[in-house]
Symmetry: C2
Subunit: 343 residues, 2 copies
DNA sequence: GTTAGCACTCTTTGTGCCCGACTGCTAACT
DNA sequence: AGTTAGCAGTCGGGCACAAAGAGTGCTAAC
């Protein structure tokens, strides 16, 4: 069977109505609300077709239709129109970033907060470090007999601290010397460059091999998995939505993901390159994706540097239209801010 | 009316049984399970007395009794006996700290995790810094034209980074000079000392007043409210307990506190001095305490230095006996570890 | 291809009823 | 005076049943 234009239109109505009302959608309500020109009987036969094609489900014989996962997917890729934010909403976004634009940490906090407030879903973020940030300074000093504290300071306010093992007989002078060496070698380089540079340089620096390895570890650790930079807001918002209201098991599942920075990191790190807004619907394949959930993410960058992946996680029956427009709206404001900040 | 010994015994039975079964307790079940020597009619008249005294409530005529907040309070202070942990449980605690005892952050993580697992409640921690830690090093360097990055490194792995404003015309040399000055002044001092020292020294250092103020701010900020050190685990565990299973509003309230580091910090910072285990039952007076919740906390210290406040937050009907023994058990192991670490 | 009409299905809601779980009270007992 | 057995009274939970309502699929006519 082919998806005729009318079928598409009807499917769009069903999904949109179900998102808005959280109730199975009947043929009658479609004709009354959206398509006064045709009769409910016609819609009924179209609905039967859509159900056969796998886009709709029926809870029982005499109930209205509910969208399937496939329907949601089609909806966000083809059927959904984009909405504009109201001026009140854009105002709220601008307001959120009024202060504290200096500190990236706070910027991210504010972004996550305003996203959660505007969408009424749980929002999450992974602040960006694709390895493109420059190393401003490396600092190294003795902490205990066999341990030194390593600090790697990059632009974007980000600091990585890590303890590394050092030989017991190392003098303070040698540690300082090693620190100078590290700064000479890595200062001004991008993290990514430093990582590949490390493969080559390792041979040259015999004397401080242990320290050197520690630094490389720290940088790799930082690029590959920095769970500390996962931020969440509005974890309890899931309970505002009826599908989670009487299902403790579902809520528990959801929370076990949303409150685990490791699991969220796993979900957020996979961003499709170049796609502005990425929508993942339904669990299934992805290990850490909670059952019956959707994740909508957007990755922002300014002047070529990624500044983070922001997203919203919630039920399948999510207001994708609104979520997408909020994420885009925040993205625009964020871009402006980062541009001005550069000066 | 006086609280006779028998009344106390019966009240203990009611509270213990209610904690175990989550069901109103009847006079019959008391005689059958705990007090075979007297009849249910006798227990009934005692229960009526206890109810009049405000220790018990009845949901409706012909239902069993449920403990009041007062009853819980009496239970934990007077009636409850302490339990020993099983060897399996102490084993689990030791196991949890097997590795990573070097990094205080991970120690705290593990503590919180094992507490949550053993008790089946949400557990929280505030790693300790009463201001007793020594400043090991202060580092200062230019970040942007009018900003410098300040690092304060203390023992216990704790690092505080903060941006401070600097005069635009300050040279790199001056910044370094200021850094040296700060190290000379504060190095080796305890945070608290540094804070009071600051009041005096400020006058002497006219040249770097702005920087100096920034440092004092950072230290104060750190001592007074370091929300970054609030850690939680098992947020969803609340749903394992029937009183929260069908009350989305209650869960939302609970989560809004447990997922807010600020609110948790407010709750955890108030620790009664010298009391080993602190039990706060019921919301009411405390602003950030969720309705109908209890918070059991223990503050650990080793060699006179506080290493943190750990706790469990959950329903009024909490297994106080188990929670207290787990907190004590973890405390002992933690103390051992910190003692060994000092070497 | 579309529509009106109708029979059918299934859920939801409300009602009455009974059963069981407790209590409180009273009168008798120790 | 304290304790106990027995009994009447209260309330919630569960079940059956009926009625109402929502929505569909099918058919025959347009």
């Amino acid at each position: 069977m082919k998806l005729s234009e009318r079928k598409k239109k009807i499917l769009r109505c069903v999904v949109a109505d179900y998102i808005a009302e959280a109730q199975p959608v009947s043929s009658k309500s479609i004709t009354e609300k959206y398509m006064k020109d045709i009769s409910s009987a016609t819609v009924r036969s179209e609905l039967a077709g859509l159900e056969e094609m796998g886009y709709l489900n029926q809870l029982h014989t005499s109930s209205g239709r509910v969208p399937s996962i496939e329907a949601y997917k089609l909806y966000v890729t083809e059927l959904m129109d984009r909405s504009k934010l109201s001026s009140k909403e854009t105002g709220m976004i601008r307001e959120a970033f009024k202060d504290h634009v200096d500190n990236l940490e706070e910027v991210v906090q504010n972004a996550v907060k305003v996203i959660s407030e505007l969408t009424d879903y749980t929002s999450v973020a992974l602040s960006g470090h694709s390895g493109e940030e420059e190393i401003i300074k490396i600092d190294l000093f003795r902490y205990r007999k066999t341990q030194a504290l390593l600090l790697v300071v990059t632009e974007n306010t980000l600091i990585r601290d890590k303890f590394i093992e050092i030989p017991e007989n190392m003098t303070d002078g040698q540690i300082q010397d090693a620190g100078r060496m590290l700064n000479r070698l890595f200062g001004g380089k991008k993290l990514k460059e430093a990582l590949s540079l490390g493969q080559v340089a390792r041979e040259e620096i015999e004397s401080y091999k242990e320290i050197f390895d520690g630094v490389m570890d720290a940088i790799e650790d930082y690029i590959v998995r920095n769970k500390a930079d996962v931020i969440t807001e509005g974890e309890g918002k899931i309970l505002n939505h009826p599908e989670y209201n009487n299902d403790a098991e579902k809520v528990k599942n959801f929370l076990s993901v949303v409150t685990s920075k490791e699991k969220l990191f796993d979900l957020l790190k996979e961003k499709d390159d170049g796609i502005e807004v990425n929508i993942r619907i339904g669990g299934g394949q992805k290990e850490n994706m909670p059952e019956d959930c959707s994740l909508v993410t957007a990755t922002y960058s300014a002047s070529g540097v990624e500044i983070g992946t922001y997203g919203v996680i919630g039920p399948l029956r999510m207001d994708y239209r609104k979520v997408v427009s909020v994420l885009e709206g925040v993205g625009k404001v964020l871009e402006d801010i980062m541009k001005n900040k550069k000066d």
